[in-house]
């Protein structure tokens, strides 16, 4: 089996209910960050607390790309998803039908292979319609 490496360490974990994205929250001003930051970018406090996010959010906005990005061949979908905890996340979208994506849709996080890097599979998060 090929080696698997996460696209970014510490961004997601597996749970019995399925994959979960891991953010952190500033204990001083309450701002939530994904991916995690070591110091709050809003109030500069370094009292950050890890926060496991819900598995579902709502699509804030999206696009379908028709020219290649660094790792994805067209067509591919990308977008921002609003999580109920109050953080917006950029992610690739996993769609079976590119005409069915709508702002406000319920989306769920999935973990899968994003691309191949030499002999390693790069694993990361995507959102797909519920």
């Amino acid at each position: 089996m090929a080696d698997k490496i996460p696209v970014r360490e510490g961004t997601f974990i597996e749970s019995p209910e399925g994959p979960i994205l891991v953010a952190n929250k500033c204990n001083s001003c309450g701002q939530i960050f994904f991916p995690k930051v070591s110091r709050c970018l809003t109030c500069t406090s370094d009292e950050m607390e890890e926060l496991k996010l819900s598995r579902r959010g709502k699509l804030y906005a999206h696009t379908i790309g028709h020219m290649p990005s660094m790792h994805f061949k067209p067509p591919y979908a990308i977008g921002y998803v609003d999580m109920p905890e109050g953080v917006r996340i950029f992610a690739p979208l996993k769609l079976t039908d590119y005409t069915q994506v709508r702002i406000g849709m319920d989306m769920e996080v999935v973990i899968e292979k994003l691309w191949q890097e030499d002999d390693k599979e790069v694993i990361g998060y995507k959102f797909m319609p519920v």
């Binding site: 809003t42 660094m70 790792h71 702002i103």
Partner: protein, 381 residues
């Protein structure tokens, strides 16, 4: 702080010139600015140069070609705001009384750069870029949000491209001097839905230069100096990404700072040049600059208020969409355009009786932040 004036501007022709070097392009712009100011190169005391894709100390190589050596020279990079950052660097040197006369040049040869014909590649630690966020991708996401939130249509976006290409026809320096229609814009190749090819700025080679000096010195050269009355440069924050992404927090904040310094408001602005890298972006900028209320930018498009001859002409040069976008050059170039309007020298695209003008630039993607740098300059005659 001393009053500072612009007394010379110049640019190279914008287009695709794979046989010209960065030094060739820079020399064209610097020579044109010196000629415009009727100034000898020996009078230049400080020089700032901006470029993204070139060797080290580009400025020294350019200025050597026109005989400028052995003075303070600084090379800066601030993505697409680099040119405006170089301009501001010279502005501060003179306002702070370190020097009386300086020059800012922005230059880029996109066709000979490592990214010729490609998208700007994300850095390794740019997680969002690695996950597929590109510049057209980001602006396409914002376009979809503008449509859902403000009722803007693909035809509205296309109309901005039609306008700026029309303006390009009025500018002898423009890369594209051809009228296009809404139908042609919408039928061009899809890049990131709903942004089509003709709604994206092209790859461009070019340079622009501006000569600044203290007001006392300016009067020795001209009876019509153009004053720099406002200047602001800010980086983006994280909060923007968590709030209404159709309203640029860094844009609003930078505009507020520039207006406050200038002692004018958006209602006083007669002509605007801005960062229209993608057609839909222009509407976002109308709103953060206060040309209309947030969410109402589409109305300005439908009223044709921002055409040459309209209430508040925007990007009369043709903008990045038609004049072209040599990244680091654009920030100096769009200030130069404002100077021409304030002098009454903008030819067919002249804004009648322009008294105050504004030049806006935006640059750089940083994962987790709105953007790298927003620069706004306000000039007056």
């Amino acid at each position: 702080m001393r009053e500072v004036a612009v007394i010379g501007v110049g640019q190279s022709t914008f287009g695709k010139f794979p046989d010209k070097t960065v030094v060739d392009l820079g020399r064209e712009a610097v020579t044109a600015a010196l000629r415009d100011a009727e100034m000898s190169p020996k009078n230049i005391q400080v020089a700032y140069t901006s470029r993204l894709y070139d060797v080290m100390v580009t400025g020294q190589s350019i200025f050597k070609e026109v005989g400028i050596t052995s003075i303070e020279m600084v090379n800066v990079e601030n993505a697409c705001s680099g040119g405006a950052t170089a301009f501001r660097g010279v502005l501060k040197e003179i306002a702070d009384d370190r020097y009386d006369i300086g020059i800012a040049v922005g230059v880029e040869s996109m066709t000979t750069s490592p990214i010729a014909g490609k998208l700007i590649p994300p850095s390794k630690d740019d997680l969002e870029g690695q996950l597929g966020l590109t510049m057209p991708g980001l602006f396409a996401i914002l376009a979809n949000r503008q449509m859902a939130q403000h009722g803007t249509t693909p035809e509205d976006f296309a109309m901005i491209s039609v306008k700026n290409h029309h303006h390009g026809c009025l500018n002898p320096f423009a890369q594209y001097r051809k009228e296009i229609t809404v139908e042609e814009v919408l039928a061009s190749r899809m890049i990131c839905d709903p942004i089509t090819l003709l709604q994206c700025c092209p790859n461009t080679d070019g340079a622009a230069a501006a000569i600044l000096c203290s007001m006392d010195v300016a009067r020795q050269y001209t009876t019509k100096p153009v004053k720099v009355i406002g200047s602001a440069l800010l980086s983006g924050d994280y909060k923007y990404l968590q709030e209404d992404m159709t309203l640029s927090r860094m844009g609003v904040k930078t505009a507020e700072a520039a207006y406050e310094m200038a002692g004018v408001g958006p209602e006083d602005i007669d002509v605007v040049e801005l960062h229209d890298a993608f057609a839909n972006e222009e509407i976002l900028r109308y709103e953060e600059l206060g040309l209309c209320k947030p969410g109402e930018g589409t109305r300005l498009v439908r009223e044709k208020a921002t055409w040459v001859g309209g209430k508040i002409p925007v990007s009369p040069s043709g903008g990045l969409l038609a004049l072209g976008h040599p990244l680091s050059a654009s920030g100096v170039r769009n200030i130069a355009e404002i100077v021409l309007h304030l002098r009454g020298q903008a030819g067919e695209r002249q804004t009648p009786d322009a008294k105050v003008g504004l030049a806006h630039m935006l640059g750089g993607a940083v994962a987790g932040l709105e953007a790298g740098a927003c620069a706004i300059h306000i000039l007056a005659r």
